[in-house]
Protein backbone atom coordinates (compact mmCIF):
# COMPACT_ATOMS: atom_id res chain seq x y z
CA UNK A 1 0.00 0.00 0.00
CA UNK A 2 1.17 3.52 -0.78
CA UNK A 3 0.65 6.75 1.15
CA UNK A 4 1.97 10.29 0.74
CA UNK A 5 3.00 10.51 4.40
CA UNK A 6 3.80 7.78 6.94
CA UNK A 7 4.07 8.60 10.63
CA UNK A 8 5.73 6.18 13.04
CA UNK A 9 4.19 6.57 16.50
CA UNK A 10 0.52 6.97 17.50
CA UNK A 11 1.07 9.11 20.58
CA UNK A 12 -0.25 12.63 20.85
CA UNK A 13 2.53 14.00 18.62
CA UNK A 14 2.02 11.46 15.81
CA UNK A 15 -1.79 11.63 15.90
CA UNK A 16 -1.80 15.44 16.10
CA UNK A 17 0.60 15.75 13.14
CA UNK A 18 -1.67 13.37 11.18
CA UNK A 19 -4.74 15.42 12.13
CA UNK A 20 -3.06 18.71 11.13
CA UNK A 21 -1.87 17.28 7.81
CA UNK A 22 -5.42 16.18 7.01
CA UNK A 23 -6.87 19.51 8.17
CA UNK A 24 -4.46 21.30 5.81
CA UNK A 25 -5.59 19.11 2.91
CA UNK A 26 -3.12 16.18 2.96
CA UNK A 27 -5.37 13.23 3.76
CA UNK A 28 -3.27 10.41 2.30
CA UNK A 29 -1.59 9.74 5.63
CA UNK A 30 -0.92 6.54 7.60
CA UNK A 31 0.06 6.28 11.28
CA UNK A 32 1.93 3.14 12.38
CA UNK A 33 1.45 2.37 16.07
CA UNK A 34 3.00 -0.78 17.49
CA UNK A 35 0.35 -0.94 20.23
CA UNK A 36 -2.58 1.52 20.28
CA UNK A 37 -2.82 5.34 20.47
CA UNK A 38 -1.81 6.43 23.96
CA UNK A 39 -0.04 3.20 24.94
CA UNK A 40 3.33 4.92 25.25
CA UNK A 41 4.54 8.11 26.88
CA UNK A 42 1.44 10.24 26.17
CA UNK A 43 -0.85 7.92 28.09
CA UNK A 44 1.59 7.85 31.01
CA UNK A 45 2.38 11.55 31.33
CA UNK A 46 1.66 14.06 34.08
CA UNK A 47 -1.02 15.94 32.11
CA UNK A 48 0.25 19.43 32.93
CA UNK A 49 0.15 22.32 30.46
CA UNK A 50 2.66 25.00 31.47
CA UNK A 51 3.67 28.27 29.81
CA UNK A 52 6.16 29.33 32.49
CA UNK A 53 9.43 28.68 30.66
CA UNK A 54 12.81 30.37 30.69
CA UNK A 55 13.43 30.34 26.93
CA UNK A 56 11.53 32.30 24.32
CA UNK A 57 11.07 29.29 22.00
CA UNK A 58 9.47 27.20 24.76
CA UNK A 59 7.26 30.11 25.85
CA UNK A 60 6.02 30.55 22.26
CA UNK A 61 5.34 26.84 21.70
CA UNK A 62 3.57 26.61 25.07
CA UNK A 63 1.55 29.80 24.58
CA UNK A 64 0.51 28.66 21.09
CA UNK A 65 -0.46 25.26 22.46
CA UNK A 66 -2.60 26.75 25.25
CA UNK A 67 -4.50 28.78 22.64
CA UNK A 68 -5.21 25.54 20.78
CA UNK A 69 -6.06 23.59 23.97
CA UNK A 70 -8.61 26.29 24.88
CA UNK A 71 -10.83 25.31 21.95
CA UNK A 72 -9.62 21.76 21.27
CA UNK A 73 -12.61 19.97 22.84
CA UNK A 74 -15.00 21.64 20.42
CA UNK A 75 -12.58 21.36 17.49
CA UNK A 76 -12.06 17.60 17.94
CA UNK A 77 -15.54 16.76 19.26
CA UNK A 78 -14.37 15.08 22.49
CA UNK A 79 -14.19 16.68 25.94
CA UNK A 80 -10.45 16.50 26.67
CA UNK A 81 -10.97 17.93 30.20
CA UNK A 82 -8.79 21.00 29.67
CA UNK A 83 -8.86 23.13 32.83
CA UNK A 84 -6.96 26.36 33.47
CA UNK A 85 -6.38 26.32 37.21
CA UNK A 86 -2.88 27.73 36.85
CA UNK A 87 0.60 26.52 37.78
CA UNK A 88 2.19 27.50 41.06
CA UNK A 89 5.99 27.17 40.96
CA UNK A 90 7.69 27.17 44.36
CA UNK A 91 10.91 29.16 44.85
CA UNK A 92 13.01 27.70 47.66
CA UNK A 93 16.11 29.91 47.46
CA UNK A 94 17.01 33.52 46.60
CA UNK A 95 18.95 32.29 43.57
CA UNK A 96 15.90 30.43 42.26
CA UNK A 97 13.73 33.49 42.87
CA UNK A 98 16.10 35.66 40.80
CA UNK A 99 15.85 33.18 37.90
CA UNK A 100 12.04 33.12 38.24
CA UNK A 101 11.91 36.94 38.14
CA UNK A 102 13.86 36.88 34.86
CA UNK A 103 11.55 34.15 33.54
CA UNK A 104 8.43 36.15 34.46
CA UNK A 105 9.72 39.26 32.62
CA UNK A 106 10.33 37.18 29.50
CA UNK A 107 6.95 35.43 29.83
CA UNK A 108 5.09 38.74 30.29
CA UNK A 109 6.82 40.17 27.19
CA UNK A 110 5.39 37.22 25.21
CA UNK A 111 1.83 37.65 26.50
CA UNK A 112 1.99 35.02 29.26
CA UNK A 113 0.27 36.43 32.39
CA UNK A 114 2.60 34.97 35.05
CA UNK A 115 3.64 36.87 38.17
CA UNK A 116 5.84 36.51 41.25
CA UNK A 117 3.75 36.05 44.40
CA UNK A 118 4.51 36.02 48.13
CA UNK A 119 4.14 33.06 50.46
CA UNK A 120 0.91 34.63 51.80
CA UNK A 121 -0.53 34.97 48.29
CA UNK A 122 0.45 31.38 47.51
CA UNK A 123 -1.38 30.23 50.64
CA UNK A 124 -4.53 31.97 49.42
CA UNK A 125 -4.36 29.89 46.22
CA UNK A 126 -3.32 26.63 47.97
CA UNK A 127 -4.06 26.87 51.70
CA UNK A 128 -2.52 23.43 52.34
CA UNK A 129 1.07 24.48 51.44
CA UNK A 130 3.69 24.31 54.16
CA UNK A 131 4.93 27.94 54.43
CA UNK A 132 8.24 26.74 55.97
CA UNK A 133 9.56 25.19 52.75
CA UNK A 134 9.45 28.08 50.25
CA UNK A 135 10.23 31.82 50.16
CA UNK A 136 8.06 32.93 47.21
CA UNK A 137 6.41 31.47 44.12
CA UNK A 138 5.35 32.28 40.60
CA UNK A 139 1.81 31.78 39.36
CA UNK A 140 0.31 31.78 35.90
CA UNK A 141 -3.51 31.53 35.94
CA UNK A 142 -3.85 30.39 32.32
CA UNK A 143 -1.60 27.33 32.75
CA UNK A 144 -3.50 24.14 33.40
CA UNK A 145 -3.90 20.51 32.47
CA UNK A 146 -5.77 18.24 30.08
CA UNK A 147 -6.53 14.53 30.02
CA UNK A 148 -3.72 13.04 27.87
CA UNK A 149 -5.59 9.78 27.23
CA UNK A 150 -8.64 11.59 25.89
CA UNK A 151 -6.55 14.17 23.99
CA UNK A 152 -4.65 11.41 22.19
CA UNK A 153 -7.89 9.54 21.49
CA UNK A 154 -9.59 12.73 20.26
CA UNK A 155 -6.76 13.56 17.83
CA UNK A 156 -6.75 9.97 16.53
CA UNK A 157 -10.52 9.90 15.97
CA UNK A 158 -10.55 13.36 14.34
CA UNK A 159 -7.68 12.34 12.04
CA UNK A 160 -9.56 9.17 11.05
CA UNK A 161 -12.71 11.15 10.30
CA UNK A 162 -10.66 13.25 7.86
CA UNK A 163 -9.38 10.15 6.09
CA UNK A 164 -6.14 9.29 7.93
CA UNK A 165 -5.43 5.56 8.31
CA UNK A 166 -4.33 4.59 11.83
CA UNK A 167 -2.77 1.12 11.92
CA UNK A 168 -2.91 -0.25 15.47
CA UNK A 169 -0.67 -3.12 16.56
CA UNK A 170 1.54 -2.44 13.53
CA UNK A 171 5.26 -2.29 14.21
CA UNK A 172 7.66 -0.93 11.61
CA UNK A 173 10.61 -3.33 11.57
CA UNK A 174 12.66 -2.02 8.65
CA UNK A 175 12.99 1.00 6.36
CA UNK A 176 14.58 1.20 2.92
CA UNK A 177 15.06 4.44 0.94
CA UNK A 178 14.56 3.83 -2.77
CA UNK A 179 14.18 6.43 -5.55
CA UNK A 180 12.73 9.11 -3.31
CA UNK A 181 10.31 6.87 -1.42
CA UNK A 182 10.54 4.98 1.85
CA UNK A 183 9.69 1.28 1.78
CA UNK A 184 8.57 0.11 5.22
CA UNK A 185 8.45 -3.44 6.48
CA UNK A 186 5.88 -4.11 9.21
CA UNK A 187 4.30 -7.12 10.89
CA UNK A 188 1.24 -6.32 8.72
CA UNK A 189 2.87 -6.16 5.34
CA UNK A 190 4.95 -3.68 3.35
CA UNK A 191 4.13 -0.02 2.70
CA UNK A 192 5.57 2.77 0.58
CA UNK A 193 5.43 6.37 1.72
CA UNK A 194 6.69 9.57 0.11
CA UNK A 195 7.52 11.28 3.41
CA UNK A 196 8.32 9.62 6.71
CA UNK A 197 7.87 11.14 10.19
CA UNK A 198 9.54 9.81 13.32
CA UNK A 199 7.19 10.51 16.23
CA UNK A 200 8.15 7.37 18.11
CA UNK A 201 8.63 8.97 21.55
CA UNK A 202 10.69 6.68 23.76
CA UNK A 203 11.75 4.67 20.70
CA UNK A 204 12.90 7.60 18.54
CA UNK A 205 16.50 6.40 18.38
CA UNK A 206 15.94 2.83 17.07
CA UNK A 207 13.36 4.16 14.58
CA UNK A 208 15.80 6.77 13.23
CA UNK A 209 18.53 4.12 13.07
CA UNK A 210 16.37 2.12 10.62
CA UNK A 211 16.56 5.13 8.28
CA UNK A 212 20.31 5.44 8.88
CA UNK A 213 20.12 8.55 11.08
CA UNK A 214 21.90 8.64 14.43
CA UNK A 215 19.86 10.71 16.91
CA UNK A 216 21.41 11.89 20.21
CA UNK A 217 18.22 10.87 22.05
CA UNK A 218 17.90 8.39 24.89
CA UNK A 219 15.06 7.28 27.12
CA UNK A 220 14.71 7.13 30.85
CA UNK A 221 11.96 5.98 33.18
CA UNK A 222 9.81 8.46 35.06
CA UNK A 223 7.36 7.19 37.64
CA UNK A 224 4.00 8.64 38.59
CA UNK A 225 0.99 7.76 40.74
CA UNK A 226 -2.65 8.60 41.30
CA UNK A 227 -4.56 8.92 44.58
CA UNK A 228 -8.13 8.03 45.44
CA UNK A 229 -10.49 10.91 44.56
CA UNK A 230 -11.25 13.49 47.26
CA UNK A 231 -13.46 16.62 47.30
CA UNK A 232 -11.84 19.56 45.44
CA UNK A 233 -8.85 20.91 47.40
CA UNK A 234 -7.16 23.25 44.87
CA UNK A 235 -7.26 23.97 41.17
CA UNK A 236 -3.61 24.60 40.22
CA UNK A 237 -0.59 22.42 39.60
CA UNK A 238 2.05 22.80 42.32
CA UNK A 239 5.64 22.16 41.21
CA UNK A 240 9.14 22.50 42.57
CA UNK A 241 12.25 22.42 40.39
CA UNK A 242 14.34 21.63 43.50
CA UNK A 243 12.81 18.23 44.26
CA UNK A 244 11.26 17.86 40.81
CA UNK A 245 7.83 17.13 42.30
CA UNK A 246 4.54 18.03 40.63
CA UNK A 247 1.07 17.67 42.16
CA UNK A 248 -2.28 18.25 40.44
CA UNK A 249 -5.90 17.43 41.25
CA UNK A 250 -7.64 16.34 38.06
CA UNK A 251 -11.39 16.84 37.33
CA UNK A 252 -12.02 13.25 38.46
CA UNK A 253 -11.02 14.31 42.00
CA UNK A 254 -7.86 12.23 42.21
CA UNK A 255 -4.38 13.75 42.49
CA UNK A 256 -1.75 12.84 39.91
CA UNK A 257 1.80 13.31 41.16
CA UNK A 258 5.33 12.42 40.21
CA UNK A 259 8.90 13.35 41.01
CA UNK A 260 12.22 13.45 39.18
CA UNK A 261 14.60 10.61 40.10
CA UNK A 262 18.08 9.55 39.00
CA UNK A 263 17.61 6.96 36.29
CA UNK A 264 19.87 5.03 33.95
CA UNK A 265 19.07 5.37 30.24
CA UNK A 266 16.91 2.44 29.10
CA UNK A 267 13.43 1.21 28.38
CA UNK A 268 12.39 0.06 31.85
CA UNK A 269 8.80 1.06 32.71
CA UNK A 270 8.35 -0.99 35.88
CA UNK A 271 7.20 0.62 39.13
CA UNK A 272 9.30 0.66 42.30
CA UNK A 273 8.48 0.89 46.03
CA UNK A 274 11.41 3.30 46.45
CA UNK A 275 9.49 5.80 44.30
CA UNK A 276 6.46 5.53 46.62
CA UNK A 277 8.65 6.34 49.64
CA UNK A 278 10.36 9.20 47.81
CA UNK A 279 7.07 10.80 46.74
CA UNK A 280 5.49 10.25 50.16
CA UNK A 281 8.40 12.07 51.84
CA UNK A 282 8.48 15.03 49.43
CA UNK A 283 4.75 15.57 49.05
CA UNK A 284 4.10 15.55 52.80
CA UNK A 285 6.94 18.05 53.18
CA UNK A 286 5.29 20.66 50.92
CA UNK A 287 1.66 19.58 51.54
CA UNK A 288 1.52 17.96 55.02
CA UNK A 289 -2.20 17.08 54.76
CA UNK A 290 -1.36 14.63 51.96
CA UNK A 291 -0.44 12.03 54.61
CA UNK A 292 -4.14 11.21 54.70
CA UNK A 293 -4.49 10.63 50.93
CA UNK A 294 -4.35 7.09 49.56
CA UNK A 295 -2.36 5.85 46.58
CA UNK A 296 -4.55 3.84 44.20
CA UNK A 297 -2.09 3.05 41.43
CA UNK A 298 1.41 3.77 40.22
CA UNK A 299 2.94 3.41 36.76
CA UNK A 300 5.85 4.67 34.70
CA UNK A 301 6.63 5.99 31.26
CA UNK A 302 9.65 7.07 29.24
CA UNK A 303 11.07 10.56 28.91
CA UNK A 304 12.78 10.73 25.51
CA UNK A 305 15.69 13.03 26.34
CA UNK A 306 18.22 15.05 24.38
CA UNK A 307 21.53 16.53 25.60
CA UNK A 308 19.85 19.92 26.20
CA UNK A 309 16.41 18.61 27.21
CA UNK A 310 14.80 20.29 24.20
CA UNK A 311 13.03 18.48 21.35
CA UNK A 312 14.53 17.87 17.93
CA UNK A 313 12.16 19.09 15.21
CA UNK A 314 12.54 19.27 11.47
CA UNK A 315 13.67 17.48 8.32
CA UNK A 316 16.88 15.51 8.87
CA UNK A 317 17.14 13.80 5.46
CA UNK A 318 15.16 14.65 2.32
CA UNK A 319 11.62 13.52 3.17
CA UNK A 320 12.49 12.24 6.66
CA UNK A 321 11.13 14.40 9.49
CA UNK A 322 11.57 14.03 13.24
CA UNK A 323 9.50 15.29 16.17
CA UNK A 324 11.33 13.60 19.04
CA UNK A 325 13.25 14.14 22.27
CA UNK A 326 10.56 16.13 24.07
CA UNK A 327 12.32 15.41 27.37
CA UNK A 328 9.18 15.21 29.49
CA UNK A 329 7.25 18.18 28.12
CA UNK A 330 5.90 16.80 24.85
CA UNK A 331 2.23 16.61 25.77
CA UNK A 332 1.94 20.26 26.76
CA UNK A 333 3.50 21.62 23.55
CA UNK A 334 2.11 18.95 21.21
CA UNK A 335 -0.80 20.96 19.72
CA UNK A 336 1.36 23.83 18.40
CA UNK A 337 4.34 21.61 17.58
CA UNK A 338 2.15 19.29 15.50
CA UNK A 339 0.69 22.21 13.56
CA UNK A 340 4.22 23.49 12.79
CA UNK A 341 5.45 20.01 11.79
CA UNK A 342 2.49 19.52 9.43
CA UNK A 343 3.26 22.87 7.79
CA UNK A 344 6.95 22.00 7.40
CA UNK A 345 6.03 18.69 5.76
CA UNK A 346 3.71 20.50 3.33
CA UNK A 347 6.20 23.27 2.59
CA UNK A 348 4.12 25.98 4.31
CA UNK A 349 6.05 28.52 6.36
CA UNK A 350 5.09 28.16 10.04
CA UNK A 351 4.44 31.21 12.26
CA UNK A 352 7.17 30.18 14.73
CA UNK A 353 10.75 29.64 13.48
CA UNK A 354 11.81 26.32 14.96
CA UNK A 355 15.21 26.17 13.25
CA UNK A 356 16.99 26.49 16.66
CA UNK A 357 15.53 23.02 17.43
CA UNK A 358 17.12 21.34 14.39
CA UNK A 359 19.30 18.25 14.72
CA UNK A 360 22.48 19.98 13.60
CA UNK A 361 22.60 22.18 16.73
CA UNK A 362 24.37 19.32 18.49
CA UNK A 363 27.16 19.19 15.87
CA UNK A 364 27.50 22.97 15.93
CA UNK A 365 27.53 23.00 19.72
CA UNK A 366 24.55 25.39 19.80
CA UNK A 367 22.74 23.78 22.69
CA UNK A 368 19.79 25.67 24.13
CA UNK A 369 19.74 25.36 27.87
CA UNK A 370 16.32 25.76 29.47
CA UNK A 371 16.52 26.63 33.18
CA UNK A 372 12.98 25.43 33.99
CA UNK A 373 12.71 21.70 33.36
CA UNK A 374 11.59 18.96 35.74
CA UNK A 375 14.09 16.09 35.84
Amino acid sequence: MNFDVGIIGGGVVGCAIAYNLARLGEKDVVVFEKQYPGAGSTGRCGAGVRQQWGLEMNCRLARGSVKIFEQLSSELGVDIEFRQGGYLVLAHTEKQLEQFERNVSLQNSLGIPSRVITVEEALEIVPYLNPEVFIAATFCPTDGHANPLLTNYAYAKAAERLGVKIMKFTEVTGVERLNGVFRLRTNRGDFEVGCLVNAAGGYSKPVAAMVGVDLPTYSERHQILVTAPVPRMFDCMVISFTSGIYVQQVPHGSFVLGIAEDEEPGYNTNSSWQFLEHVAREVTSILPVFGELSVVRQWAGLYNKTPDSQPILGEVLPGFFVAVGFSGHGFMIAPKTAEIMAKLILGIKPDIDISPLSLDRFEKGELIVEPSVVG
Partner: protein
Protein backbone atom coordinates in the same frame (compact mmCIF):
# COMPACT_ATOMS: atom_id res chain seq x y z
CA UNK B 1 -31.40 -7.99 24.24
CA UNK B 2 -28.38 -5.66 23.98
CA UNK B 3 -30.46 -2.48 24.27
CA UNK B 4 -32.19 -3.51 27.47
CA UNK B 5 -29.03 -3.94 29.53
CA UNK B 6 -27.06 -0.92 28.23
CA UNK B 7 -27.78 1.03 31.43
CA UNK B 8 -26.18 -1.53 33.72
CA UNK B 9 -23.19 -0.06 35.59
CA UNK B 10 -20.35 -2.55 35.20
CA UNK B 11 -17.55 -0.45 36.77
CA UNK B 12 -18.93 0.74 40.09
CA UNK B 13 -15.75 2.63 41.06
CA UNK B 14 -15.81 4.84 37.97
CA UNK B 15 -19.52 4.71 36.95
CA UNK B 16 -19.11 3.08 33.54
CA UNK B 17 -22.12 1.41 31.89
CA UNK B 18 -22.27 -1.59 29.59
CA UNK B 19 -23.68 0.73 26.92
CA UNK B 20 -20.60 3.00 27.05
CA UNK B 21 -18.30 -0.01 26.72
CA UNK B 22 -20.27 -1.32 23.73
CA UNK B 23 -20.19 2.12 22.07
CA UNK B 24 -16.38 2.32 22.31
CA UNK B 25 -15.97 -1.25 21.01
CA UNK B 26 -18.16 -0.29 18.04
CA UNK B 27 -15.93 2.80 17.55
CA UNK B 28 -12.92 0.52 17.12
CA UNK B 29 -11.36 -0.12 20.54
CA UNK B 30 -10.34 -3.78 20.67
CA UNK B 31 -8.49 -4.29 23.98
CA UNK B 32 -9.13 -3.90 27.71
CA UNK B 33 -6.14 -1.50 27.91
CA UNK B 34 -7.73 0.91 25.40
CA UNK B 35 -11.13 0.78 27.10
CA UNK B 36 -9.46 1.41 30.46
CA UNK B 37 -7.64 4.51 29.15
CA UNK B 38 -10.67 6.04 27.43
CA UNK B 39 -13.45 5.11 29.88
CA UNK B 40 -11.49 4.66 33.18
CA UNK B 41 -13.07 1.20 33.48
CA UNK B 42 -10.95 -0.76 35.98
CA UNK B 43 -9.03 2.30 37.22
CA UNK B 44 -10.78 2.51 40.59
CA UNK B 45 -9.84 1.24 44.03
CA UNK B 46 -11.20 -2.29 43.38
CA UNK B 47 -8.66 -2.67 40.54
CA UNK B 48 -11.21 -3.97 38.06
CA UNK B 49 -12.21 -7.02 40.03
CA UNK B 50 -15.86 -6.68 39.04
CA UNK B 51 -15.75 -4.95 35.70
CA UNK B 52 -12.78 -6.43 33.86
CA UNK B 53 -14.30 -9.94 33.53
CA UNK B 54 -17.45 -8.30 32.09
CA UNK B 55 -15.40 -6.11 29.72
CA UNK B 56 -13.46 -9.18 28.51
CA UNK B 57 -16.70 -11.09 27.94
CA UNK B 58 -18.13 -8.19 25.94
CA UNK B 59 -14.99 -7.85 23.77
CA UNK B 60 -15.00 -11.61 23.18
CA UNK B 61 -18.67 -11.63 22.21
CA UNK B 62 -18.74 -8.52 20.02
CA UNK B 63 -15.43 -9.15 18.21
CA UNK B 64 -15.73 -12.97 18.11
CA UNK B 65 -12.39 -13.49 19.87
CA UNK B 66 -11.96 -16.46 22.25
CA UNK B 67 -12.13 -15.06 25.79
CA UNK B 68 -8.71 -16.48 26.66
CA UNK B 69 -7.24 -14.23 23.96
CA UNK B 70 -8.82 -11.10 25.45
CA UNK B 71 -6.15 -10.15 27.98
CA UNK B 72 -6.88 -8.20 31.17
CA UNK B 73 -5.04 -4.86 31.57
CA UNK B 74 -1.63 -4.83 33.25
CA UNK B 75 -1.78 -5.15 37.04
CA UNK B 76 -0.23 -2.14 38.73
CA UNK B 77 0.97 -1.68 42.30
CA UNK B 78 0.07 -1.15 45.08
CA UNK B 79 -2.19 -4.19 45.47
CA UNK B 80 -4.48 -2.33 47.88
CA UNK B 81 -4.88 1.39 48.52
CA UNK B 82 -2.30 2.73 50.96
CA UNK B 83 -2.06 6.14 52.65
CA UNK B 84 1.09 8.26 52.22
CA UNK B 85 1.50 8.37 56.00
CA UNK B 86 1.47 4.55 56.17
CA UNK B 87 4.17 4.44 53.49
CA UNK B 88 6.26 6.88 55.56
CA UNK B 89 5.70 4.92 58.79
CA UNK B 90 6.71 1.73 57.00
CA UNK B 91 9.88 3.26 55.60
CA UNK B 92 11.00 4.52 59.02
CA UNK B 93 10.93 1.02 60.52
Amino acid sequence: MEKSDDDIIVCRCEDVTLGEIREKIREGLTTTEELKRVLRVGMGPCRGKTCIPIVRRELSRMLSIPIEDVLPPKDRPPVVMVKFKSILEGSEK
